[in-house]
Chain length 273, copies 4
């Protein structure tokens, strides 16, 4: 039994996926005929259900990774390898309030909404209406739209929400809106950036150094896939070599005092990764 | 104002950190004198508070990354780079029920408890009592212990909890307990493994191939830190080159049918990372 | 002025390359008409010369990298990133005598012939006649064939040449011919292997450990290209993630004594790379 | 039998290495007593020879890798992983004439002298007399000094040698001497640079784009070592994450025409690495 309101992923014989927030009385029109969601609800996760044309569909409880993979995109999305790390560094938790800009296709938005949960709030800024709309559609598909406020507006003149727990900027010239961050982010709060070129990273660092920011870090994450053949195990021939550089910092405390550098007993943990 | 019951990180002038679930009437004994938690509560995040010896402590709302970094360890911990990716692939969300083994020092346990939230449940198996105890202490320090059931028991004879949403094994010979997974994990559910050597990966793959598992993936994640100097930007001289290989799979559906391979429109997304 | 007998690379308007060992009286037939090599000789490197149809060809003194890139291949070739390192570890120098197997398309053969020079000697074993022929054609194209003896023969029953300076095996099961190496390689001499899978590496190590070999090393080399745009500098989106693992060792001394591990004053040089 | 004039590496029981160009009548004073080089010559490579205090020394024919590892350094040296690639891209061969600046401790100088052989010529510029001297000592130790002309002079006012085959710059601000390269390097000839920071790479690219240079490439090379244990094969825990970025280009042809981009049939070979 699946509870109404829960997210399900229905996978066609050809691998096409449909995401649905379960409504027992809904009928899903697929390329292979109609699916009774009542039937999906009763059979439960891991089951096969059949369309009125007798084609088998698989009922899966999707992981966040599946949602991100299914994001319809017209922009470069932020990848799972980066999203996972961002979420840890920004301290996103059930109930968090967080700002991001820009929304883009909504891959990071999806993850933020996923982890902040129904008690949390994601403020997602996107100045281009067509991407704001795309982000909204991607969120609706997975039932996460109620957790997100998409604000179709430039961030040059500030954010609006105050005292949020974390803030992430995936915009071309993030240094132009640094001045507005202290009004939006809680003192001592974490913030992050994604930038594709070293020139942008260098410019951002120049601005961050002027404060009120501390604990500045720059890093990149690489994922290397292997061919999962036990007797001929080896990396895939090709890999994605670059998506972007991640930059993290903390907003200084009230009164512009720097947040303290945290001591660690474990020398080798200085670069815990 | 910080609400009672919320987690705070108090950082000493020397960078030593104390984690506390806020109780207004508590007095924290530090190396620098006593701190009134009532005072911490009133001043709020981002503030400086003073001990009775007039030493300044900083009040920080910790990110998950801070918690993991602060885990007292007597084992190799799972690193943030890996944890972030694991959490996405396993679909951990507020309310999830998840099994892990072994607990070790509790770094992944902390993350699972963090993301599953108060409505979720983490079943953490650890056969060595001293590590079970260490894991418990680490969880208590950050107030997450109520979300976790630490089970000081070998997993050779099975798990106990049933129909969990996800399962992760960080044990030396995970193939020895594969047979118990179908009784514990929901059909179609995601599972993951961390293994340090290629020989272990190869052995695990041999066993996974026998089923009932599909969508098998092997990968590794590398993080490269940069020296954050804007006018002399360059990678750090050294990096951590290996923590372990990550292996992911899905339990087959009820009746041993394979979960379908999901189709993707974007050829280049086959290896979304 | 280019001296007769020197290697020239002639590049067509469309980028097609012709390699020629310069003979002043030769006429080169190209897709764009005839080129007088006398003219090439007189104009020299860096010049444009014209075919009888008045099409411009560029005269380039090719680097080894160009030769390897131009190798006609019907096998996976060894890549420059690996070749450069192999040559340093094996101590290839003008005058060296070296064994390799198998020849494959001849990329490493080309490099070995290049560096050993006219006084050196490369013994290249290839059991498949069609690849031996391909290797020969590639060497002839660049005028290096006189330095190489291609031996169309399996190495299961031994090599033949004795006391060579170095030995490299790019074959599927190199452990099957380890027993023949002491008769071929000078005592204390360096040997190397390229293997694509971790299983092969593991098997080879098992055999090497039985001796008479020491100073065993396993490594892999990654090259990451950047988009050379000064104001938007960033890595290429994709990279080659794997060609093969390199394994190096030294044959023990006469009388099966291990070659000594060399001490280094510089702690940080233990892994000079 | 080793021929007089050949380079030998003598390794002490503790792993200390002595390099000597063999002179039969020489006596080597070691920490373990005197070694008769006549004896070394007669015993040959791979043998053990004994000091007058009866301590065993091993006679090894060193590889270039050994020479580079033994370079006494007071600067950051260029590493084998980079040297091997540089040599292929620059087309260094027996007989090559090549310019490098600065000499530093002489690691690349050693490699260039090694591969150009007795018929070649390395012009090595170093403005700091103490490093010029260090480079000279390192070359003398391995008998390569006769192939190298160390020029203790800044390159701001030009090089001197003309029409060399290749040129490599490992200096802080290479763009300041770009103007002198056309007078030194043969038309169409290859040149390379090593720079540690992205800012330097960006500045260099800006200058290279102004010409007369083409075929500009930027890349970095990573080496990852494995623990060579067959039944527990895994990468080393740590690796060197950065030495420097390599930049390569070709000098345009006579008359400032660009050297042609070479066509390749193999699409996947565009980034042969």
């Amino acid at each position: 039994m699946i509870k109404p309101g829960q997210l399900v992923m229905l996978v066609s014989p050809k691998g096409k996926q449909y995401f649905r927030v379960l409504q027992p009385d809904e009928i899903l029109n697929t390329n292979d005929g109609q699916l009774q969601m009542q039937n999906v609800m009763e059979k439960g996760f891991g089951a096969r259900v059949y369309t009125h044309l007798n084609r088998p569909y698989t009922v899966i409880k999707p992981a966040l990774y599946d949602l991100i993979k299914a994001v319809k995109r017209r922009t470069q999305i932020i990848y799972p390898k980066d999203i996972g790390y961002i979420v840890l560094k920004l301290g996103i938790a059930p109930g968090s309030r967080v700002i991001e800009a820009g929304s883009g296709s909504g891959a990071l938005t999806t993850a933020l909404a996923w982890f902040t949960g129904p008690q949390g709030r994601v403020y997602s800024f996107e100045r281009r209406p067509e991407f704001a709309e795309l982000c909204r559609l991607n969120l609706e598909k997975t039932g996460l739209e109620s957790r997100v406020e998409i604000i179709t507006q430039d961030i040059d003149s500030g954010f609006g929400p105050e005292n949020v727990d974390a803030l992430f900027l995936d915009v071309r010239t993030p240094w132009e809106c640094l001045e507005h961050i202290p009004q939006a982010l809680a003192p001592g709060g974490p913030l992050g950036f994604l930038l594709p070129t070293v020139n942008q990273v260098s410019t951002l660092l120049t601005h961050l150094e002027k404060g009120p920011y501390s604990s500045i870090e720059v890093l990149e994450i690489l994922v290397r896939h292997y061919k999962p053949v036990p007797e001929r195990l080896r990396p895939q021939d090709r890999m994605i070599a670059h998506t972007g550089y991640l930059i993290f910092a903390r907003l200084n405390l009230s009164g512009d005092e720097k947040a303290p550098e945290v001591q660690t007993d474990h020398e080798e943990e200085n670069h815990i990764c």
